[in-house]
């Protein structure tokens, strides 16, 4: 039981930093870069990914013994796409302004490689419970990273966090000059590169200590 217990915890926690989907597995980069201009859209996006990832992992794991391997990709894509449609419609109904802002990026979660990557490499060969936790863990790992990037970009770029002013900008009578570079998608690359560097260096330092 102890071993089993640990296994559950590991599949939830490992993807958070050590095996982070973005910075280590190189999965799901497109959305991570495109929607991180501000924290609010990043939060919505992260929630959507967590929900979709956890449930597609769970569903695929439940039907894993009935999937013929020759057409498994198309079947999996259908399951994922259905999950995405449900989430997309929910966001359209309850947060129409956000759905406008995120434009095609919610729909593009279908092709977010995190989802297919985890479904292929984990859910197809593990039990439903483990798969669900793995989905949650990877979703949260993804969320951590994109919210961090979004936080940096919004804070430095506009001087705000969640539209709440932290540094008063010049237009509002303060003395903070908004950094327009952070509004460009390219800035996300540099932030992500530095974060990846930091994470890798930290992991290396830890393994060499052991």
């Amino acid at each position: 039981m102890r071993v089993l217990n640990n296994q559950y915890i590991v599949s939830l926690t490992r993807p958070l930093i050590e095996n982070n989907p973005i910075s280590i597995q190189i999965l799901g980069l497109c959305s991570a870069l495109a929607i991180t201009q501000a924290v609010r859209p990043a939060l919505i996006m992260a929630t959507a990914v967590i929900v979709i990832l956890a449930f597609s992992n769970l569903i695929i794991s439940l039907i894993r013994h009935f999937l013929p391997s020759s057409i498994r990709l198309i079947l999996k894509m259908t399951v994922i796409a259905s999950a995405v449609i449900v989430v997309d419609e929910i966001i359209k109904t309850f947060a129409p302004d956000m759905s406008q802002l995120l434009s095609v990026f919610i729909a593009l979660i279908v092709t977010n490689c995190i989802i297919l990557g985890r479904v292929e490499s984990f859910a197809s060969s593990h039990s439903p419970g483990l798969s669900f936790l793995d989905g949650l863990g990877n979703g949260i790992g993804y969320a951590l990273l994109i919210i961090l990037v979004a936080f940096i970009r919004e804070l430095v770029g506009k001087g705000t966090v969640l539209d709440f002013p932290v540094f008063e900008s010049i237009e509002q009578g303060g003395d903070y000059i908004q950094n327009e570079f952070m509004a460009l998608p390219a800035s996300a690359f540099f932030i992500l590169a530095l974060l990846t560097w930091g994470i890798k260096a930290a992991l290396q330092a830890r393994t060499s200590e052991d």
Partner: protein, 203 residues
């Protein structure tokens, strides 16, 4: 008319380059850009896939999914637009599958070189993204054909340039933790910045 189409092509390929400006198709872009030859093959494949899927998806969207498109069948109120994601991805998966068979039969060397990345084109955001943008911008048939080709061309240009830079970078000395992914991000960032400088350019 012609210049309008050229404008769409130019915008899709350079000014609004899907990888470097909209940041779509990033995973494959970073993963398959280690040498120019493979990158070139993949670029060509993406051009073919985009040029086929965008117009097909246009036809399906216009005549089956869009609001009132099924009026001739007695369903004037039917609106199936929410099914576009599933439909588009299905079309893309089918086209990629067919292309895979064709390549295997007629171009076995390219087929081997592309390996796993060919089926992965199904989950390339740039391919699905192009179809979704086509709907969002209300393109007509010929426009969507030109747009599909332009998007593919832009993707191919971007990945070949990036692969050429990376080949050189292999020989340079960079900090351990920055090697590989980190450096790839920085290079893409610089490329992306330079493409952003073209924003608003028109003929």
């Amino acid at each position: 008319m012609v210049s309008e189409h050229f404008n769409i092509l130019f915008r899709a390929a350079i000014v609004e380059n899907l990888v470097l400006v909209f940041l779509l198709g990033m995973c494959t872009y970073v993963a398959v850009s280690k040498n120019v030859k493979t990158a070139f093959g993949l670029g060509l494949t993406v051009i073919v896939v985009e040029t086929i899927t965008v117009p097909i998806n246009y036809i399906i969207f216009e005549y089956v999914l869009s609001h009132g498109a099924l009026a001739w069948a007695g369903y004037p109120q039917l609106d199936l637009t929410h099914l576009k994601i599933v439909t588009f991805i299905g079309v893309i998966a089918a086209v990629v599958q067919i292309l895979e068979m064709v390549l295997e039969r007629f171009y076995p060397t390219l087929f081997k070189a592309l390996g796993i990345y060919l089926p992965l084109l199904t989950v390339n955001c740039a391919v699905l993204g192009a179809s979704l943008f086509m709907v969002q911008r209300n393109y007509q048939f010929t426009e969507s054909l030109v747009y599909g080709f332009g998007v593919g061309l832009g993707w191919a240009i971007a990945i070949v340039v990036f692969a050429a830079i990376r080949e050189r970078l292999d020989e340079s000395r960079v900090p351990q933790g920055l090697r590989g992914l980190g450096l790839a991000f920085i290079v893409t960032g610089l490329l992306s910045l330079s493409f952003n400088g073209l924003a608003g350019l028109e003929f």
